[in-house]
């Protein structure tokens, strides 16, 4: 009985994993020149934590995410999930990119079903697609094609495509960067709700200070390229948060100072 109770009480989906990034450095070779992008980055995310990676555009945050996703290998250093080294992409670590990158030839349903289909689970677990669509508020749009969706809806569909895999680590690469400000604000609230309900660990890359403070447990500030960790700020505030909370406003000023943008 006790076990059953615990399971009921646990959030839906897999529990979050622990991510460790140990002294990771990375560079690109461009026309014979070496372009360093990451310089000795060490960080960790505890299970169920939402960590924001904040830094100027093009500083190398997205490169770090590609390494965490397993899409690229670091030149030096190590990345571990629950103590196991990352050696390739895995559906337990799903990325939501800045562009929704929905497949235009598939309906919303077909796009969301992608992960289950790729792993041969679609036939037996069809209902999960409908659940994911409902979770992001896209029920009834399953037969629409991506070109019929607004930017916000497309990004919701991309989110559903990630969530349907019940990831233990959700990697968000400026997922709201291209949305209009009103849609962005409402999506931030929804993302926090989804994360708190599901209990996965989340990495959020953003260059929006307010977004980081509104959503994250911890904010890691990166320097300009090559990206080094400049500071780490714990956001000790309960959810749901209010954007005009004096504590957050104070943190916002400190973060802007760190980024060199304060007046």
């Amino acid at each position: 009985m006790v076990a059953a109770d615990v399971r009921l009480a646990a959030p839906r989906g897999r529990a979050g994993t622990r991510l460790e990034v140990r002294d990771v450095s990375h560079h690109f070779e461009l026309e014979g020149k070496t372009l360093p992008v990451l310089d000795g980055v060490t960080l960790q995310a505890e299970p169920g934590e939402l960590v924001a990676l904040l830094g100027p555009s093009g500083c190398g945050k997205s490169t770090l995410l590609r390494l965490v996703a397993g899409l690229d290998r670091p030149r030096s250093g190590g990345l571990l999930v629950d103590g196991t080294p990352i050696d390739g992409p895995d559906p337990s670590r799903v990325v939501v990119f800045q562009d929704p990158t929905l497949y235009p030839w598939r309906t919303v349903y077909g796009n969301v079903a992608l992960g289950l289909e790729a792993r041969g689970l679609l036939r037996s677990q069809r209902a999960r697609v409908d659940d994911a669509l409902e979770l992001v508020g896209l029920s009834g749009f399953d037969r629409a094609y991506p070109h019929q969706l607004s930017g916000g809806m497309a990004q919701r569909a991309a989110l559903a495509r990630a969530l349907v895999n019940e990831p233990s680590l959700l990697i968000l690469d400026e997922p709201l960067g291209k949305l209009d400000s009103l849609t962005r604000i409402s999506m931030q609230t929804e993302l926090v709700r989804l994360w708190r309900d599901a209990g996965f660990t989340a990495l959020l890359v953003t260059h929006d200070v307010e977004e980081a403070l509104f959503m994250a447990n911890r904010v890691i500030v990166f320097s300009d390229r090559p990206a080094r960790i400049k500071a780490e700020i714990v956001v000790d505030s309960a959810y749901p948060r209010h954007r005009d909370d004096p504590y957050l406003v104070d943190l916002r000023r400190r973060l802007l100072e760190l980024l060199g943008c304060a007046p």
Binding site: L71, G152, T183
Partner: protein, 339 residues
């Protein structure tokens, strides 16, 4: 779900679903009366005076023109009761007037006044004569052509598609095939004709090879460029969701490349027509190309024009078929060219 999202979707479906209403729908179709008059003129020109040559279907032709005029007149008056048909006829009004006038002019300068030299420019009733008296030979020729074309085209398109996908996917295939493709591909398939006719056991199999070759080249190149041009982000998405290589090819690369593939299939179809006709004229003893050659040999120019018209309809029909298949498979694309 926000309200803006809903309205965006609703607006986009509206645009596709609503057809503009024709305000004139329902009343008498006055253009139809003009069209009926034009067909009547064509009929009167045909019966106006005896033919300068010996054509056996002049009367039947005149009656057919008259019947068309009558049918159009009835449709013009009854427009309000025949709904969708009337709407389609209305949009065709200019054509329905110009076609009979062109026929009347053609009739006048060939059968009634010897303006154009005979027998090189037969009148319309000479074509009617071919269709009524020689339809069996013409029909057999169409079937032969279609069989040859279908086998050659499907072989070439399949081979080109597979080759194009492997070129886009595999570096090793690219290394070996690309130079060969660059050398051989641009060569017109018809240049192989003399070689193919002695290298293959029959002119028929040689023609299959040539048609396949002509089709295969554009399909290969376009499929290849389609697969090579697929955005890396599409692969990233699939890989993070647990896709294997097979899934990446079948469910990402190929569907993403399909618009290009269809351009290749279209170009290949055009090239295959050219090779078909040449092959039939020079080697194969059947088909529309052979029929054209045969008619010219007997100086039966009526048969030649009749066969040309049938060939035009066949080729156009096949292109239409290809576009229908494309529209069905690429329904997700916006702004497709209508054929």
């Amino acid at each position: 779900m926000t309200d803006t999202d809903v309205t965006t979707l609703a607006a986009s479906t509206d645009v596709a679903g609503v057809e503009p209403r024709d305000r004139s729908a329902g009343s008498v179709w006055f253009g139809g009366i003009a069209a009926a008059a034009a067909w009547l003129i064509a009929s009167l020109v045909t019966t106006s005076r005896p033919d300068v040559g010996d054509w056996s279907r002049t009367d039947e032709f005149a009656i057919a023109l008259m019947a068309t005029a009558a049918a159009l007149a009835v449709a013009a008056i009854a427009a309000r009761w025949i709904g969708p048909l009337a709407a389609r006829l209305r949009t065709a009004t200019p054509w329905l007037i110009v076609i009979p006038l062109a026929i009347a002019a053609w009739e006048a300068v060939t059968a009634k006044f010897p303006v154009l030299p005979q027998p090189f420019f037969p009148p319309p009733q000479a074509l009617i004569e071919v269709y009524t008296d020689d339809w069996q030979r013409l029909g057999t020729s169409v079937l032969h052509s279609l069989r040859l074309l279908a086998i050659g085209y499907l072989l070439g398109a399949t081979a080109g598609f597979l080759l194009g996908v492997s070129l886009g996917w595999s570096r090793a295939v690219g290394y070996w095939v690309h130079p060969v493709l660059r050398l051989i591909g641009p060569l017109p398939a018809t240049a192989w004709l003399p070689l193919a006719f002695f290298a293959f056991p029959s002119s028929w199999s040689a023609s299959i090879f040539l048609i396949a070759l002509a089709t295969g080249f554009p399909v290969t190149i376009l499929t290849w460029s389609g697969v090579a041009g697929v955005s890396g982000a599409y692969y990233d998405v699939a890989r993070t969701l647990g896709a294997n290589g097979r899934f990446l090819v079948l469910k990402v690369a190929i569907p993403a490349a399909l618009p290009h593939v269809f351009v290749g299939l279209f170009m290949g179809l055009g090239a295959s027509f050219a090779v078909l006709v040449v092959a039939e004229m020079l080697g194969v003893k059947a088909g529309l190309g052979w029929y054209l050659q045969w008619a010219q040999g007997w100086a039966s120019y009526g048969n030649m024009y009749a066969a040309l018209l049938v060939m035009a309809l066949m080729c156009s029909g096949l292109i239409t078929l290809l576009f229908r298949v494309r529209d069905h498979l690429l329904a997700w694309q916006r702004g497709l060219v209508r054929w």
